[in-house]
């Protein structure tokens, strides 16, 4: 009995140091939230890129050279892409800032007329002062768009941190793997590979999908000679991370811009047809091919996750809501499976009648 209680005390004592370290880490993260954020983004990027490094590693290229090679080749391509994008983007944003007062005036006139008609029919709506609210929103719009530019500096900081994470990452992971409790390492690695499989496939899949949609939208809008094609295509690409939202955002934004730019109905019809095409292409070709191995998330769950993420962590809560939901779903599935295997909730059916003699 005494021996048992000593073992139990020793068992609890083993947990003290890791618990203190975990608490200190959480406290540090809370204190340095702002500084840590690029590192969290870099860790996510390193995780997404790690299969590419592994691809070269198993083919005999040392990790340092694999990372350097990947950065030099893909980085150069991306740099050109980002540079061109910035070129288009800054031009678009400057043009938008200059043209905005005229556009805002047209939108305001349209809504003032609409408001006059509506309040004439329903006088109680006059109390809502819709005109003032619209005016306030229109004043804020250009500042909001320009306010997004500093966030783009992350585009340079994050790859820099990711580089060092990719080079040093393998060593830390190997160290952790070798120091897992030996008897439980099989189970822990099983859980880790399950989460890695579904989360990795989902993230890589959805990012590839968003990038392809961005490219198609950008090319299509440039060919249609629509203003602010780069800004709209980026918004479409980002909103494509939410199922169905990309095409809707694209259709609405492009239609508004087309109305302001051309003032006729035909370009709007062309744009709507284009985005309907993108939607079907995504549903019939992209998703079945890219997302076939990823964890399946119901669109309603995705919306709930995004709203909850926004509530908890603002814009970055939204960014990380989907990966966290993937992890939670996989953990839930694993937990149910563990109940069935470790605790025998359900007897496993025999694959055949095993009493048939071996022949």
């Amino acid at each position: 009995m005494a021996a048992d209680s000593t073992t139990l005390k020793k068992g609890y004592a083993q947990l003290v140091l890791p618990a203190v370290m975990a608490a200190a880490l959480i406290y540090f993260i809370v204190l340095a939230k702002g500084a840590i954020f690029p590192f969290i983004l870099s860790a996510a990027l390193a995780y997404i890129l790690s299969p590419m490094i592994r691809y070269f590693e198993v083919r005999g290229i040392k990790r340092t050279y694999s990372v350097a090679g990947l950065y030099i080749s893909v980085g150069a391509l991306l740099f050109i892409g980002v540079y061109l994008l910035f070129h288009f983007l800054s031009y678009d944003l400057e043009t938008l800032q200059r043209a905005w007062p005229a556009y805002a005036g047209r939108i305001e006139t349209y809504f003032t007329n609409l408001n006059a008609k509506v309040t004439a029919s329903f006088p109680f709506l006059a109390g809502l002062k819709l005109n003032d609210k619209l005016q306030h929103l229109l004043d804020l719009a250009p500042q909001f768009l320009l306010g997004l530019l500093p966030a783009l500096s992350l585009l340079f900081i994050v790859p820099f941190i990711t580089f060092f994470m990719l080079i040093g990452g393998a060593g830390i992971i190997d160290y952790l793997l070798d120091h897992l409790p030996s008897r439980h390492s099989e189970l822990i690695l099983h859980i880790a590979s399950r989460i890695d499989g579904s989360l990795g496939n989902y993230l890589r899949g959805i990012l590839t999908e968003a990038f392809i949609i961005f490219l198609i939208a950008f090319t299509g809008l440039v060919l249609m000679d629509l203003n602010y094609a780069a800004v709209i295509a980026i918004l479409i690409g980002v909103s494509s991370l939410v199922p169905y939202l990309g095409a809707i955002v694209g259709a609405v934004l492009s239609s508004v811009v087309a109305y302001l730019q051309f003032g006729t109905l035909l370009p709007i019809i062309k744009i709507l047809a284009f985005f309907t095409g993108i939607r079907f292409f995504d549903d019939w070709f992209l998703q079945p091919y890219i997302m076939k191995k990823a964890v399946k998330l119901n669109p309603a769950i995705i919306l709930l996750a995004l709203m909850a993420g926004g509530e908890i962590g603002g814009i970055w809560g939204v960014v990380f809501s989907i990966p966290v939901t993937c992890i939670l779903k996989e953990i839930l599935l694993i937990a149910i499976e563990l109940q069935e295997t470790e605790f025998r909730w359900k007897p496993k059916p025999e694959p055949t009648r095993i009493s048939i003699p071996f022949t």
Binding site: V58, S182, H190, S193, K293, K348, F358
Partner: protein
């Protein structure tokens, strides 16, 4: 000459050694050298120190273990005498725990590292991925696995006749 030196510093000889090692494993017989890279990608490495338990009898199995270096002792507890006897030793190039690749059922023996041992682990989920993404490799492994299990079953069935 200098160019060759640069190439040597970029190339990891250890990978070549691992690929050659895997080619000698019975489970991977019939898989071409180039395709063996995908097998290596699916394997997880881990080093166990002398005396560490890899799994215990009754634990749910989820992976097959291939011994790369060192030695593993497999022992089984006799329910009648409550005594544990070493039933086999697994040496480099050999593997154990293959039943875990077919079903997640309790292990029938305890595996302990008899000396510092490096193993490759093939998880059921990785074999499933191989079957899905690279059917040629997956089917070769599954067919080898079936042959090995059949041979072991035959050996067990034929044992009483010898006595």
């Amino acid at each position: 000459m200098r160019f060759l030196n640069i190439l040597n510093s970029i190339y990891d000889e250890e990978i070549l050694r691992k690929l050659d090692f895997l080619r000698g494993i019975r489970l991977f017989e019939g898989i071409r050298k180039r395709a063996m890279i995908h097998v290596l990608e699916s394997l997880q490495e881990r080093t166990y120190l002398k005396g560490e338990t890899i799994f215990a009898q009754g634990d749910i199995g989820r992976a097959l273990f291939i011994v790369f270096s060192g030695k593993i002792a497999l022992s089984r507890l006799d329910p009648a005498t409550q005594k544990s006897d070493v039933i086999a030793e697994v040496h480099p190039g050999e593997f154990f725990g293959e039943m875990a690749l077919l079903e997640e059922m309790p292990r029938t023996a305890t595996a302990v590292a008899a000396e510092e041992t490096k193993v490759f682990m093939l998880f059921k989920i990785k074999l499933d991925s191989l079957l899905f993404a690279r059917p040629k490799i997956g089917v070769t492994i599954a067919s080898q696995l079936a042959r090995i299990l059949s041979a072991r079953l035959r050996a067990i069935m034929e044992k009483p006749a010898e006595n």
